[in-house]
C-alpha cells in the first residue's frame, strides 16, 4: 500500500468524524457519516482486509446510513441550538482526554506496524493460513475461519442480528388502526422520492443485478472475498432500494412482514441445525467433518467446505431479513403501511 495515501485517508477520517458530529442538520450528519464509513473501508482495503472493507461498505456506508435517514425521516431533522451546560461537557472532555492519554501510553509498546512476525500475525493466525487448505479445502481463509474454526462466534453473530430484528419489532411495532395518536403524520417531507421516474427506472434495473451479485457473493465466498454477511447485506440493500424507490407496500407485496420474521429465524435455524446434526452424528457441535456420513461423495475435508456453504446461506437469510426488517420498522415508524 502507499503510505502517503494512507496518511491522507487517516487524516480525512478524523475530519469527517468531527464534521458529522458538528453538523446541525441530522440528515447531513448521516450523509457525512456515510462518507466517513466509506473512507474507513478504503483504509481497511488498503491494509488487506478486503472482507471487512466489503462488509463495511455495505453495512457502514450503506445500511447504517439508510437506517439513520429512515429514523430522521420520521422525526425531526434540525437541531435547535439550546443553551448548554458547559461544565458537563468540559468534565466529559476531561474524562475522554484522560482515557485517550492512557490508551496512548501503550502505543510504544505495540509491535511494529506491519510486522509479519508480530504475535498477532504469527501465533494463531498463521496456523489458519497454513492449515486452511488441508483442513477445509477453502482457499479464502477468512471464510474458513469465519464459518468453521470460529463458526461458533459466527452463529451467535447471526443470532445477534436476529435479536436486533426481534427486539426492534417488539419495541416499535404497532398494530394497525391502534393508537395512532402519537405523531401520525410526523415530519413528512414535501418531496416524495418515490414519485421520481428516473429513480424508479434506475433502481428497477439495478435491483436484479444487485441480487444476482449478492448470490454470487454468497456462493463464491470460498474463493473470493465475500460470504453470507456481505451477500445478505447486499440482498437486503437491494430490497431496501426497491422499497425506497417505490414505497413500502410495494415491497410488502413481494415480501411480507411474516416472511421477514420467519426467514430470519430460519436462517439461524439452518446454522444451528447444521451444528445439531453434527451432534447427532456423534461428534461435537459444529464439527462439520462428520457430515461426510450424510453428504454424498464427500470426505471429511470436503464436508467442511460444503457445510460452510450451507451455513453461509443461513447467515445470508438472517442478515437480509434483519436489514430489511429493521429498515421497514424504522421507515414506517412501526406501522408497516407507509413510509420512506
Amino acid at each position: 500500500m502507499i503510505w502517503q495515501f494512507d496518511l491522507i485517508l487517516l487524516t480525512l477520517v478524523v475530519i469527517f468524524a468531527l464534521i458529522s458530529l458538528r453538523v446541525k442538520d441530522l440528515m447531513g450528519a448521516s450523509i457525512v457519516f456515510g462518507a466517513y464509513s466509506f473512507l474507513m473501508c478504503l483504509i481497511w482495503a488498503g491494509m488487506g482486509a478486503v472482507d471487512v472493507a466489503f462488509t463495511e461498505a455495505a453495512v457502514g456506508a450503506g445500511v447504517s446510513t439508510v437506517f439513520m435517514i429512515a429514523t430522521i425521516y420520521n422525526t425531526g431533522r434540525m437541531i435547535k441550538p439550546r443553551p448548554q451546560d458547559m461544565s458537563f461537557k468540559l468534565l466529559m472532555m476531561l474524562v475522554v482526554v484522560i482515557t485517550g492519554a492512557f490508551l496512548l501510553t501503550a502505543v510504544n509498546d505495540f509491535p511494529e506496524w506491519g510486522d509479519p512476525y508480530s504475535p498477532v500475525n504469527d501465533h494463531v493466525a498463521a496456523y489458519y493460513l497454513t492449515h486452511s487448505m488441508s483442513d477445509t479445502a477453502v482457499p479464502n481463509v477468512v471464510t474458513s475461519v469465519l464459518a468453521d474454526y470460529r463458526s461458533f462466534d459466527t452463529m451467535f453473530e447471526t443470532a445477534v442480528v436476529f435479536v436486533a430484528l426481534i427486539g426492534i419489532y417488539g419495541i416499535i411495532r404497532r398494530r394497525r388502526k391502534q393508537d395512532d395518536s402519537d405523531s401520525d403524520t410526523d415530519a413528512l417531507p414535501p418531496y416524495d422520492p418515490s414519485e421520481s421516474l428516473i429513480i424508479r427506472q434506475a433502481s428497477r434495473m439495478m435491483v436484479p443485478f444487485m441480487q444476482i451479485f449478492a448470490l454470487y457473493v454468497v456462493a463464491h465466498g470460498h474463493h473470493s472475498p465475500g460470504g453470507g454477511f456481505q451477500g445478505g447485506v447486499i440482498l437486503g440493500a437491494s430490497l431496501i432500494l426497491y422499497s425506497m424507490s417505490y414505497n413500502l407496500p410495494t415491497l410488502f407485496k413481494k415480501m411480507t412482514e411474516k416472511w421477514i420474521i420467519l426467514l430470519s429465524a430460519i436462517g439461524v435455524l439452518i446454522f444451528s441445525g447444521v451444528g445439531v446434526i453434527c451432534m447427532m452424528l456423534g461428534s461435537n457441535f459444529l464439527d462439520y467433518s462428520v457430515l461426510s456420513q450424510i453428504l454424498p461423495a464427500t470426505d471429511s475435508v470436503m464436508a467442511r467446505s460444503h457445510a460452510m456453504l450451507i451455513v453461509e446461506i443461513g447467515v445470508a437469510f438472517t442478515v437480509m431479513c434483519a436489514m430489511v426488517g429493521i429498515y421497514t420498522s424504522l421507515a414506517s415508524n412501526g406501522r408497516f403501511d407507509k413510509g420512506l
Partner: protein
C-alpha cells in the same frame, strides 16, 4: 469424546428461540411452554455438568472439534459451574413466573418476548461458560441487546432509560473489546488459557496493563459499578416485571463473574494484587459504591426503585470482595454472586407480584399488604432478611466472608460500609414491615384496626410458587454454605492464591 451437556445447555434455548418465533407467529400461546421446556433442558444439562466438574474436575469442550487456541473452547471449572446452574435454574423459575405477568403487561408480544427471554439466557450462559475472550464479547452483546429490548418493551419511561442503558452498555462492551485487542496485539491469541500462559512473561508490558484496565473498566460499566451506576436504576425500574426479575439478578452478576474470571484466570492474582497493587483503591471505590447505593435506596419512596439501588450496593460488595486481595474476600465475592442472584431474584419476584395485584409499588399506598398478600410478603421477608444478613439465610454467609476478608486486609472502611449497608437494608425492610403493621409512613397517625380485615388477594400461584422456591433456596444455600465453600469455592481459591 465427552458428553454434549455443556453445549446442550447453550443450544437448547437458542433453538427454542427460533421455534418460538416460528410457531409463535401463528400460535403465540405456545411460546411460553417452549421457553420453559428449553430452560428446563438447560437446567438439567447444567446440573449434569456441575456434577461432572465436582467429580472429575474442570471440563473442556471443543466446538467444531478444533483444538484449543484455534477453535473456540468451553471451559467449565469450579468458578463457573455453579454459576451456570444458578443462571439456568433462576431463569427457569423466572420463566415460570413470567407467564401471567407477561400476559398481563404485554399481551400482544408474547412470541417476541419469549424469543428474547430465552436468548438472553443463552447469552448469559454463554458468557459464563466460554473460554474464549472474543466469543465472550459476542455473547455479551447478545445478552446486552436482548436485555435492551426486554426492558424497552414496557414503553413509556423505559424507552429513555433504555437508550441510556444502550449507550452505557455499548461503552462497556467497546471497552471490553478494546481491552481484548490490547491483549491480543501482544499475545496473538484469544483463548483464555492460552492468554494466561503467554501473559506470564508479559507482566511488564504497558499494553497488557492498558488491556487489563480496559476490560475491568468495561465490566464495571456493564455491571453499574460506582461511579457509572447511573443507568441501572431507571432501566430496571421501568422495565416489565418479568424482565426485571430476569435481568436484575443475573446480568450484573455475570459481569462480576467476567471480572473475576479475567482477574484470576486470564491474569493472575499475582499480577493483579502484587504487580499492580492498586487494588486497595478499588476497594475504597467499592465502599463508596455500597454507601451511595444504600443511601439512594434509603431515599426512595418506590419499592422497586429502592430495590434497584440495593443492586448497586450489592455490586459494591462483590467488586470490593474480589479486590481485597485475600482468599476470604474472593470467597465472599464468588459466594455472593450465587447468593445475590438468588436474593435479588426473590425480591424482584415479590415486588413483581405486588405490581401484578397492586399496580405499582409506591410505599405510601401499600397499607395492609401483609394481609392482602401473605405469601408474597413471606417471600419478600425471607429475601430481605438475606439482604440484611440474618442467619441462616445465604446473605449472612457472604457478608461473613466479605467482612473477614476486609478485616484480614485491614480495610476497615469496607467493613464499615458493609455493616452500614446491612443496617440500611434493615431500615428499608422495617419500613415495609411498619407499613404492614401501622398502615402508613411518616407522621400520619396509624389506625390499628382499619386494615384488619382486608381480604386475601394473592398473586396467581404460578407467580407465587417460583418466588417461594427461590426464597427457600436462600435458606438452602445458607444451610449448605460449608459444602458450597469446600466443594466449589475452595478448589478455585487454592488454585488462584
Amino acid at each position: 469424546m465427552s458428553t454434549q451437556a455443556p453445549v446442550l445447555m447453550i443450544i437448547a434455548p437458542l433453538i427454542a428461540s427460533i421455534f418460538i418465533t416460528l410457531i409463535g407467529w401463528f400460535r403465540p400461546k405456545f411460546s411460553h411452554p417452549i421457553a420453559v421446556i428449553s430452560l428446563l433442558i438447560s437446567s438439567i444439562a447444567s446440573i449434569q455438568v456441575f456434577q461432572m466438574v465436582l467429580s472429575n474436575g474442570p471440563q473442556q469442550y471443543f466446538l467444531g472439534n478444533w483444538p484449543a487456541p484455534f477453535g473456540i473452547e468451553y471451559v467449565i471449572d469450579h468458578l463457573n459451574s455453579l454459576l451456570l446452574v444458578t443462571i439456568s435454574v433462576v431463569a427457569t423459575l423466572v420463566a415460570l413466573y413470567a407467564k401471567r405477568s407477561v400476559e398481563k403487561e404485554l399481551p400482544d408480544k408474547l412470541a417476541n418476548y419469549y424469543t428474547l427471554f430465552v436468548l438472553l439466557v443463552t447469552g448469559l450462559l454463554g458468557i459464563s461458560i466460554t473460554g474464549d475472550a472474543f466469543n465472550l464479547y459476542v455473547l455479551l452483546e447478545i445478552a446486552a441487546l436482548t436485555s435492551y429490548a426486554l426492558i424497552a418493551f414496557a414503553k413509556g419511561r423505559s424507552l429513555m432509560a433504555t437508550f441510556n442503558y444502550v449507550m452505557m452498555g455499548s461503552i462497556g462492551a467497546c471497552f471490553y473489546l478494546l481491552g481484548v485487542g490490547y491483549l491480543f496485539i501482544k499475545t496473538g491469541t484469544l483463548n483464555m488459557t492460552n492468554l494466561s500462559q503467554i501473559l506470564v512473561s508479559l507482566h511488564m508490558s504497558q499494553a497488557v496493563l492498558v488491556g487489563f484496565v480496559l476490560i475491568i473498566l468495561g465490566m464495571w460499566v456493564k455491571m453499574a459499578f460506582f461511579p457509572v451506576h447511573g443507568w441501572l436504576s431507571n432501566a430496571y425500574t421501568y422495565a416489565p416485571t418479568a424482565s426485571t426479575c430476569l435481568i436484575a439478578p443475573l446480568m450484573t452478576k455475570v459481569s462480576v463473574y467476567v471480572m473475576i474470571r479475567v482477574m484470576t484466570s486470564v491474569f493472575s492474582t499475582e499480577y493483579v494484587f502484587n504487580h499492580l497493587s492498586w487494588h486497595l483503591v478499588v476497594v475504597a471505590m467499592a465502599s463508596v459504591a455500597i454507601l451511595v447505593g444504600s443511601m439512594m435506596a434509603l431515599s426512595q419512596r418506590d419499592l422497586k426503585k429502592c430495590m434497584t439501588y440495593l443492586v448497586v450496593a450489592e455490586i459494591g460488595y462483590m467488586v470490593g470482595g474480589a479486590w481485597l486481595g485475600n482468599p476470604a474476600g474472593m470467597t465472599g465475592a464468588t459466594y455472593h454472586i450465587i447468593a445475590d442472584a438468588a436474593m435479588t431474584a426473590c425480591l424482584f419476584m415479590a415486588v413483581g407480584c405486588i405490581i401484578y395485584k397492586h399496580g405499582h409499588t409506591s410505599l405510601d399506598t401499600m397499607k395492609g399488604i401483609f394481609r392482602k398478600m401473605p405469601l408474597t410478603m413471606l417471600g419478600f421477608v425471607v429475601g430481605m432478611l438475606s439482604m440484611i444478613g440474618v442467619p441462616p439465610t445465604c446473605g449472612f454467609f457472604s457478608k461473613w466472608y466479605l467482612i473477614s476478608g476486609a478485616i484480614e486486609a485491614g480495610q476497615w472502611h469496607f467493613m464499615l460500609a458493609l455493616l452500614f449497608s446491612s443496617l440500611v437494608n434493615a431500615i428499608i425492610f422495617f419500613r415495609i414491615i411498619e407499613i404492614g403493621f401501622f398502615g402508613s409512613l411518616g407522621s400520619e397517625t396509624p389506625d390499628p384496626h382499619e386494615h384488619q380485615d382486608v381480604a386475601v388477594k394473592e398473586a396467581p400461584l404460578s407467580m407465587v410458587l417460583p418466588m417461594l422456591v427461590v426464597a427457600g433456596a436462600l435458606i438452602g444455600i445458607g444451610i449448605y454454605t460449608s459444602d458450597i465453600i469446600s466443594l466449589v469455592i475452595q478448589p478455585l481459591i487454592s488454585a488462584t492464591f
